[in-house]
């Protein structure tokens, strides 16, 4: 925004250089530096612009200038090349924006730069920061500005004071939108700005669109204070932008921020001598009280509702209090508060509304009425404290179930204040002596040794052990059997074994081992074989033993066809019965 503001005035500046506050240093060779302010008198909170012009070259300028009381920051730069009679010159323009929050005269010190072999410096520049009060708020020389109006400049602490912040922008219907304004002060509470009223008026023969935001504030601290400047922001139609021939439908908007004037106020403290029932309310109020029931037992709660309506500050107000402290008769709890701002009919700047306080009170004795409550507020118009009082509310209090004969206590009249209840401390045991002996007839028992190892414990262990080892033993036996079967391999029949006898050319040892195995199987299958057959079988068996175990025969070589033809037919004949 500041850049746009700056550029707006840049053209005028370039066309009309060397304003009233210009200062410069120019050398014969065309090098030089100068500093100017668009306006050397700037209101508090407003943004001013400094222009530093460098001729014949450029140099790096600081990002900020250190001037106590002013904030000065570099905001942009621009270059221009001039060719005059064939001679080419460069001109650099640097822009700074500045603002101040305290009125006074400030001096911007020389800015030094090096150009070529020489050092150039600007001359000191005087800037004035001034307070712009409500009378000076309207400035028709500016394209837009803000105004801060306060209805009173002298008021009391906690008193609600209406205010209005207004944005002015040159042109008709220029304001498209309003940004939330900012008005802060540590000693004031400012209500939020919810309403916007747009309008327009001629100011110094120029028409300005305006947007007003009413609200109110109240002070927390007495004394002299300066309020503002507030910061306002609006979005305005950008008349310089292209709308592609479609008028305002496609028109662009730009944001304009502006600072308002300040207002010096005097906040008066509330007068001394406030009654005890003063709870912080400032304004003008009415009080209505209602009880949730008028028939209770001792100890039962009653919900009291206090409606405080009127015009003034409800935020700082607390609940009404008993006119006379009812010590020992009524017990009360802290009240809750509900603000009903919807009751306001005067817009956001109005202080009309109501607050509802809910409080639980409990009768601790038989009474006939709920005693009066008081609420004292300060009326700034009359400049005095006003006390409101609720009427006594008749009730019927019956004895509670735990107290058959409750004490009837007369409500103290005449405003005698009872002493406040003190918190009772819980009694602690003194332990001064041991208790007396018991004289009741004892229940006699006889002693015995503790039986730690009952027999049935070990019996159970025995049974479980037997079961466990049975399962374990069965498993082990089964495992051994399976292991043996695996090692021995499957059991063959004699016929099956014949098929496994190697053929001619196989190792002789292998051949005769298979033959011997077959003969063993045959013998096992034929225990009652006739003697002649046994003789033949024994002869083959002897031959197998000779080859396998005697060592006299070469058992490593291949078996011959002769051996095979001699043994196998006999073995095959043995299959016949």
């Amino acid at each position: 925004m500041l850049q746009q503001l700056t550029r707006l005035f840049l053209i005028a500046l370039l066309l009309f250089p060397a304003g009233g506050t210009a200062s410069a240093q120019q050398a014969e060779n065309g090098f030089g530096i100068s500093i100017n302010a668009l306006s050397s008198r700037v209101a508090i909170g407003e943004i001013g612009t400094l222009i530093v012009k460098i001729s014949g070259g450029d140099s790096r300028l600081p990002e900020s200038l250190d001037v106590p009381g002013l904030e000065i920051e570099h905001s942009g730069q621009q270059s221009r090349i001039n060719i005059i009679n064939g001679a080419r010159t460069i001109e650099m323009t640097h822009f700074y924006r500045f603002r101040g929050d305290t009125p006074g005269n400030y001096t911007i010190p020389p800015i030094e730069i090096g150009l070529g072999t020489e050092t150039f410096a600007t001359k000191p520049l005087e800037i004035t920061i001034y307070e712009r009060d409500q009378d000076e708020a309207i400035d028709a020389t500016k394209p837009y500005f803000g105004k801060f109006e306060l209805s009173k400049e002298e008021f009391y602490v906690n008193e609600i004071v209406p205010l209005t912040l207004t944005s002015f922008v040159q042109g008709r219907n220029r304001i498209q939108d309003v940004l939330p304004p900012k008005l802060e002060h540590e000693s004031f509470i400012v209500k939020s700005f919810r309403d916007v009223q747009t309008d327009g008026a001629d100011l110094g023969n120029t028409y300005y669109s305006s947007a007003s935001m009413p609200s109110n504030l109240f002070a927390l601290k007495a004394g002299e204070h300066r309020l503002g400047p507030a910061t306002l922001g609006v979005r305005v139609a950008d008349s310089s932008g292209s709308s592609f021939g479609f008028g305002g439908f496609f028109s662009r908007t730009v944001t304009r921020e502006m600072a308002t004037n300040t207002v010096n106020v005097t906040v008066k403290p509330l007068p001394n001598g406030a009654p005890p029932s003063f709870t912080g309310g400032v304004g003008k109020f009415d009080l209505v009280a209602n009880a949730s029931t008028n028939e209770v037992s001792i100890g039962d709660p009653i919900s009291m509702e206090f409606v405080v309506a009127g015009e003034g500050n409800f935020q700082t107000m607390s609940a009404p209090v008993f006119k006379v402290l009812p010590t020992g008769i009524w017990k009360s709890y802290e009240a809750s508060k509900t603000m009903d701002e919807s009751a306001s009919t005067g817009g956001s700047s109005s202080s009309v509304g109501r607050a509802v306080f809910s409080q639980v009170i409990i009768p601790e004795a038989k009474v006939d009425t709920i005693p009066p409550f008081e609420l004292t507020y300060f009326d700034p118009a009359r400049e005095e404290y006003i006390t409101l009082e609720t009427p006594e509310i008749p009730i019927t209090v019956s004895a509670d179930s735990h107290n058959e004969a409750p004490t009837t206590i007369a409500y103290p009249a005449g405003g005698n204040e009872a002493a406040p209840l003190e918190t009772a401390s819980k009694p602690i045991a003194q332990f001064d002596d041991v208790l007396h002996i018991r004289t009741t007839t004892p229940r006699w028992m006889a002693s015995t040794d503790l039986e730690k190892n009952p027999i049935w414990f070990y019996l159970l262990q025995t049974l479980l052990s037997a079961g466990f080892f049975t399962i374990l033993g069965a498993g082990i036996v089964r495992w051994f059997r399976e292991r043996e079967v695996t090692r021995e391999g499957p059991v063959l029949s004699y016929r099956q074994s014949l098929k496994r006898i190697p053929k001619e050319g196989a190792p002789k040892r292998e051949f005769y081992h298979a033959v011997a195995t077959s003969i063993k199987l045959w013998e096992a299958e034929h225990p009652d074989a006739p003697a002649p057959v046994l003789e033949i079988v024994n002869r083959i068996n002897d031959r197998c033993d000779t080859v396998l175990y005697s060592g006299t025969s070469k058992s490593d070589g291949p078996v011959s066809a002769h051996d095979v033809s001699e043994v196998l037919p006999i073995l095959q004949k043995l299959t016949r019965k």
Partner: protein, 260 residues
């Protein structure tokens, strides 16, 4: 009041043996009443003797122990008073008179007591030998599960599940047995004793000239670790250990002397 014993253990024992009273109830009541009368008349010595006769007869009663405690206090034997109150609390857990009188003596004597953890409190609520039974059952269950896993071919398909179950049961059983061991070593009433003598000191060695570990006010609680002649090596509240004379402390349970 701290109760460093298995209440359930004591009660079960007493319930089992309740039928074996050695003297008639009428005689016991008569003796008890006469002890009470002596107490009321201020003859605390006679009251104590009559109460002790009932104890010697093997009778057990929280009321008897409580009255003995109060009588001992009147006889200016605060250590014995604490001892008898503790025995009464053993029989009648949480008896208000016992608790209150112990609290009174605690404030007056400043005796030392073992801190009680939540685990201790829980273990004391269990019946005696609970840990042994639970641990045994769990261990056997685990053993059966593991054996079945490898020995019963039909269970081979569920081998992983049975193996896991077996391991869990074995570990749980081991933990239960360890708790049982802890209960037996740390919480068994037979291991605890009460300091009944005044000016008792725990010493660094079982010798009269040894250095002092800590003074033990009457009523202080110790846990007996080892007996060595006339000396007892004890655990002292505050994670201390030391030697004390056997005659300066009295075991809380069983109640001596007993009639043979």
């Amino acid at each position: 009041m701290k109760t460093p014993f298995s209440i359930a253990q004591i009660l079960v024992t007493l319930a089992v043996s309740a039928a074996s009273l050695t003297i008639g109830a009428e005689d016991s009541n008569e003796l008890f009443t006469s002890a009470n009368t002596a107490f009321e008349s201020g003859d605390y010595g006679k009251a104590a003797r009559n109460y002790e006769r009932l104890v010697e007869d093997g009778l057990i009663s929280s009321t008897l122990y409580y009255n003995l405690g109060t009588t001992a206090f009147r006889l200016e034997k605060p250590g014995e008073a604490v001892l008898w109150y503790r025995r009464a609390g053993l029989i009648e857990s949480g008896a208000p008179e016992v608790t209150q009188n112990l609290e009174y003596l605690r404030t007056k004597l400043g005796f030392l007591e073992f801190a009680e953890t939540d685990l201790d409190r829980f273990l004391r609520t269990l019946p005696p030998e609970t840990g042994r039974w639970i641990g045994s059952v769990l261990l056997w269950g685990g053993a059966f599960a593991l054996a079945a896993t490898f020995c019963i071919p039909r269970l081979r398909k569920q081998r992983t599940a049975f193996l896991t179950l077996g391991i869990i049961l074995v570990v749980s059983g081991y933990a239960a047995l360890r708790l049982n061991q802890y209960t037996g070593e740390q919480l068994a009433p037979e291991n605890f004793a009460t300091v009944t003598s005044a000016n008792t000191k725990a010493l660094t060695a079982p010798a009269p000239g040894a250095k002092t570990v800590i003074d033990l006010p009457p009523g202080s609680e110790v846990r007996i670790i080892q007996a060595s002649g006339p000396w007892r090596y004890v655990d002292i509240p505050g994670e201390l250990r030391g030697w004390v004379r056997a005659e300066e402390i009295t075991p809380v349970w069983p109640v001596p002397p007993q009639k043979s």
